[in-house]
Chain length 376, copies 2
């Protein structure tokens, strides 16, 4: 049985779901000859580790208790009394992680798994790579930091996986890596990579006012608490940067042209969420409605997409043929069209749910299993 | 630089394209720290190998000459005078391959790559697995042989890849393996996995007579020389069997319900291709036309698909919602809809060109790169 040591950073929805998946897949993974040995779990404040990271692990009962404690909004430090583990406070956290990474990285192997949404993990991940560890990310921040950090994180291309940074568990990164490694050059990527904005654009296409669509999306739980976090496009821009860098573009967030669906004067520093929804947004209805009508004349529809082509990397509304995979998109699915030498007239299309803790965590788990051959 | 020894079986269009891809990707793969060392190439009659498979390789000039010679319709034995190589006739072929597999499999590693369309490679591949080799297949035959052979071929799941057996280079097998390894159960697969039949069904949907559509498809080079090889559905059935077995179904070709688009009395033993096209097919126009009209009444369209769900594994015409990924399919693209726990209401969809030597060989090459961590 191959044993893979894991250190999980981040106990939010995705991290907890990953722990639950790991526990529920025990017998499946046993049939595949793999055992996932969780040697440590941390959030932004504390780290809990198994008594001896070389030989022991946090057992399933403990991992489920981690989920329970964090779901209650409590601190990981509460677990000190629960079972065999050591708890470290924030001040000791980084040093202890480096300590584990340096001991395990080049012996039993260690995968550092980042399910947080923090930029503070970037330094830890880049050190972990130097120490011989593998890294698996659902967190977009480290891959959208400076080029120096990016170069470091991907310096051992076989030892990094980050499927769930774009389109949750959709096989986007894995498929692009396959295409790239086979020497098939990617000419153009066009993707609707925000379920929220995908939903919004297909609803306004049906003639509904933008303001009403956003309110409905919010009430359905499709948006962030402040819908401007979706409408501003920065989350899509982050995904676009990750894809562009995967294709070899040496760019930063600043290089990406991002179209926000609301103007600066309706920004979070100017008006409250309620004011934005009731007073700001309705002022935008007419303009969007006119753009929809204008596109429609030439058989096109509006989609909020990222476009990566040549040196171009843009995020915003594009007029796309109604009769194309992106044009036909309805609802909150993500869609990516990939144009290459092999897929030139008709693109390779990958489509499906691109959000949700379950599918995001499933993508992380698939990534972990994918690097098993690097473990002794 | 990691060196991966490869033995290629099959020098048809896919095999030759693979050799060309390998040669043209030299500098790309060097930047990734990998060198593909082709130590042998065989067709059904001869085997050419490098002088010393442990240390030498067939160089790029030689590999391109292999392509040239085979394209001319000549025998590999013609290469004996071309450069440093040994040529073995058919009588010695299998023994020599086993010899190389047993020497390299557990030392430098060896990937046996099957780009043939022969069932004779099955025994070689299954022995190669026993001898510690990796196997990479574009050839469907070995994976659709008996369950005994299948079990043997997948007995070391990390050491087999076969993306290009279904949908050419489309990332279907890789994506399903990711889903399965993350414990997300696949409830249902529905796929249009024949470009020819995809084209035929979308054309008859537009009201064109089946007989005319098939003639056009043949003239466009979309069909086999005898279009009945496509219309009979056996090629789709083979792909369905590979997918069903991937999902854990222990079935054989006999278990698959296959609907042929032509009746037995129009079979190849009864009438010639010309007679089939001019006299047989037109007799089928009315019935298909009626089925199209009937489906249309309830907002559905006809698609020739494989359906795998529970114990069901069928290949044939299904009525599918016009407003679904498969229903919206036009032309010769392949489409697969995957329903799982994570993708339950809306499926994961993978769509694109599912045929062609270029994309098929690219899929094989991506598979080869994917197993690099198993090489020392």
């Amino acid at each position: 049985m191959k044993k893979m040591a894991l250190l999980l950073m981040g106990c939010g929805g995705v991290g907890r779901q990953l722990l639950r998946h790991i526990v529920s897949c025990r017998s499946l993974h046993a049939t595949q000859g793999v055992h996932l040995r969780v040697v440590g779990v941390c959030d932004s404040k504390s780290l809990v580790v198994a008594p001896d990271a070389h030989t022991s692990e946090l057992d399933d009962k403990f991992l489920l208790e981690v989920c329970r404690v964090k779901e209650d909004g409590s601190s990981l430090s509460k677990l000190s009394g629960f079972g065999a583990c050591q708890v470290f406070a924030h001040s000791e956290l980084t040093a202890k992680v480096f300590n584990m990474a340096s001991h395990l990285g080049k012996s039993t192997g260690l995968a550092v798994v980042d399910c947080s949404a923090s930029s503070e993990t970037t330094e830890i991940l880049s050190r972990a790579i130097d120490l011989g560890c593998c890294i698996v990310l659902a967190n977009k921040k480290p891959l959208t930091a400076t080029m120096e950090y990016y170069d470091k994180l991907v310096s051992q291309p076989r030892r990094i996986r980050h499927e769930s940074t774009v389109g949750a568990g959709l096989p986007i990164i894995a498929s692009l890596n396959r295409i790239l490694s086979s020497g098939d050059p990617v000419h153009r990527l066009v993707g609707s990579l925000s379920g929220t904005l995908g939903y919004v654009m297909s609803e306004v296409e049906d003639g509904k006012p933008l303001s009403q669509v956003v309110k409905t999306a919010k009430s359905l739980g499709y948006t962030e608490p402040d819908p401007r976090d979706d409408l501003g496009g920065m989350d899509v821009a982050r995904k676009a940067l990750i894809l562009a860098r995967l294709l070899g573009r040496r760019i930063t967030m600043d290089s990406i042209k991002v179209e926000s669906l609301y103007p600066d004067e309706m920004g979070p520093t100017v008006m409250s969420v309620d004011d934005f929804l009731s007073k700001g947004l309705p002022l935008l209805d007419k303009s969007i409605c006119e753009r929809v009508a204008k596109a429609s004349v030439s058989g096109k529809v509006l989609r909020y997409v990222c476009v990566i082509e040549g040196t171009r990397c843009e995020v915003g509304i594009q007029e796309l043929p109604r009769d194309s995979p992106l044009g036909r998109l309805r609802g909150s699915d993500n869609v990516l069209e990939v144009y290459t030498r092999c897929y030139n007239k008709q693109p390779l299309v990958i489509q499906g749910a691109g959000a949700g803790n379950d599918t995001t965590a499933a993508g992380v788990l698939a990534d972990i299993l994918d690097i098993q051959d690097l473990f002794p």
